[in-house]
Symmetry: C2
Subunit: 355 residues, 2 copies
């Protein structure tokens, strides 16, 4: 058995995978594969409706927000957000908490002025910048809620008088959020929501339509809202598997229940990292992520042998990102706490052996 | 058993679906689902490499072209093409052969001047416009090789001194084409290539980089080429199933072999439509598509009862597009000729009963 700590595309619930596989051969007993039916069929429309309903239910999305399933990943949102929200004579405020935030702000520069109001770049993003004032004259404030590469997470969102746009790719559905505090939330599916190939966008309708620029249809939130995520053929399979995963989450008790589990999981692992003299965490304690736990070894020469031990125990995907090194254990919703115990056991066993 | 004449997402080979389903549970015996492995893993990189290789092999793509698997469908290409190729002071030539061509040219208008050099709109697109001169001073000529809704197909591509950009969404891999004649070929996967969720783009490298405009990374062909379709997380599953489908096509003898089968299939059906006094084809004989066969009934009141008969015989997806009415039998690569015989039998049985 494998223990999948991969950073994404990441682990999905086993029962979801079994259902998805069945639908690829015969969808709901209709004698056709999910992959070969029209996206305009009643069967798929029911899937999309259910997926949207589950997002609204699980995140308690208030009135006045639209829920979209798009293509192109968060990287397309990096451009789509300023395309729709940043006037060419205006400015947008960005908090640079990692490489993805940096990519987002670079795209925004194509469309208007970008004010990087805070950055932790000088420390290789080991903490979440917090001391800043949100400029009241900016079109929006852009945040990244969880920084997969560095293992930092925004545990408290700043107060803001301007719309807050947040990339939640790596922690959406892992904890309770107050959607009403945001103008746009976007997230690539491939961490907590489903497979790669679709992107969730939750957008407050009233913030749209304030920019003069002509926007290509596929990049225009209003066109996508009007088309109900079906302006063109949507990524049918990715949406279906996301729907199944959200249904699984609901059956587990929703985001509050999973948030408790996630906290418990990350605590077991951080406790071991802090206790075990062979390992150390890399980022600011108060900003530690409950999704991606990054750590290194006191003696870097032991990292390879430890990876080898992990491999023997079926622990996969924990090699750290090249820009941080060491290890990154991604512990998304679908990862059972038993996998954490296996990792902790391996850390203890390794420390014992290499005393 | 179902006979799937759906226009798209359309029929896929049964063995491809079985392989895809197996990979969703356990990919190549690695103990993990294809959906939960990193797109940077050796396993997925091999899939993407193989998919690119198969495209090059099946279409005999010459040197100097890049093969991309992107997201966003042909509709994103409608904007991406002019974004990358149409200078803001330049113009592009479009042949308007259907609603999709019309959508493409509308997007181009956001970026520069659009010269609609020919259109069959006045006849509800029942033929392919042919009498036109390609303006030598345009940045490119845009064509649609097959018009799914109307059942017309470009059987001979026009000579052009400027780069030809062609939307081949509904007939790619159905026949031999000379890639060297094109600047860009693009196609949503969900007809002949795979499931919805990825878009094939074949681009001649030398036509890029001639426009001053700043292009968002995800919409920039050069960025996508440099990233090898992995500038960000690609649509893993859709690419995998496309690879399987292309492999299936190769095992069938490639595009020349399938083109013969497709011709044979369409001939059986058109022959019956022409012979059977109850039915008639809707578009110009010389422009008839080998992919989408559109036909109506002499007596429109009999269309509903005929659909009912089809339903009884397991014939699905043949209701015509609302803008044409009647019937549309999409007979993509994966549809066996036996399904055509079942449809023809139904037409004969119906005509006999309703004499």
């Amino acid at each position: 058995m494998k223990h999948n700590f991969g950073a994404g595309p990441g682990i999905l619930p086993h029962e979801v995978l079994k259902q998805a596989a069945a639908a690829v051969v015969d969808f709901n007993g209709i004698g056709l594969s999910l992959l070969e039916i029209s996206h305009r069929s009643a069967e798929f429309e029911a899937v999309l409706d259910e997926a949207v309903k589950l997002v609204k239910e699980l995140l308690e999305v208030p009135e006045g927000y639209s829920v979209l399933f798009l293509q192109g990943g968060a990287s397309t949102q990096f451009a789509m957000v300023p395309y729709n929200l940043l006037p060419s004579t205006g400015k947008a405020a960005y908090v640079e908490s990692g490489v993805w935030a940096n990519k987002a702000l670079k795209e925004a520069k194509f469309f208007g002025e970008v004010d990087v109001i805070a950055s932790s770049k000088e420390s290789n993003f080991t903490y979440i910048p917090k001391d800043y004032t949100v400029p009241a004259d900016a079109a929006y404030l852009h945040l990244t809620s969880n920084n997969t590469i560095y293992g930092t997470q925004l545990h408290e969102f700043p107060a803001s008088s301007i719309p807050v746009v947040c990339d939640m790719s790596s922690d959406i559905f892992s904890r309770k959020i107050n959607v009403a505090d945001f103008g746009i939330i976007y997230a690539g599916a491939q961490k907590n929501m489903g497979p790669a190939g679709t992107t969730l966008v939750i957008v407050k309708d009233e913030i749209l339509g304030k920019v003069d620029r002509k926007i290509p249809a596929m990049l225009n939130y209003r066109v996508q809202i009007e088309g109900g995520s079906m302006y063109n053929t949507p990524p049918v399979f990715a949406i279906y598997v996301s729907m199944l995963t959200l249904n699984w989450l609901k059956s587990k008790g929703g985001v509050e229940a999973i948030a408790k589990e996630n906290k418990a999981k990350s605590k077991v692992l951080y406790d071991e990292i802090d206790r075990n003299p062979m390992f150390k965490a890399v980022c600011a304690v108060e900003d530690r992520s409950d999704m991606n736990v990054c750590f290194v070894m006191e003696n870097p020469e032991l990292e390879k042998p430890f990876l080898k031990l992990c491999d023997e125990k079926g622990i996969v995907g924990i090699k750290g990102h090249r820009s941080v090194g060491g290890f990154r254990a991604s512990i998304y919703n679908a990862l059972p706490i038993t996998s954490i115990y296996v990792l902790v056991d391996a850390m203890q066993e390794f420390a014992e052996k290499n005393k």
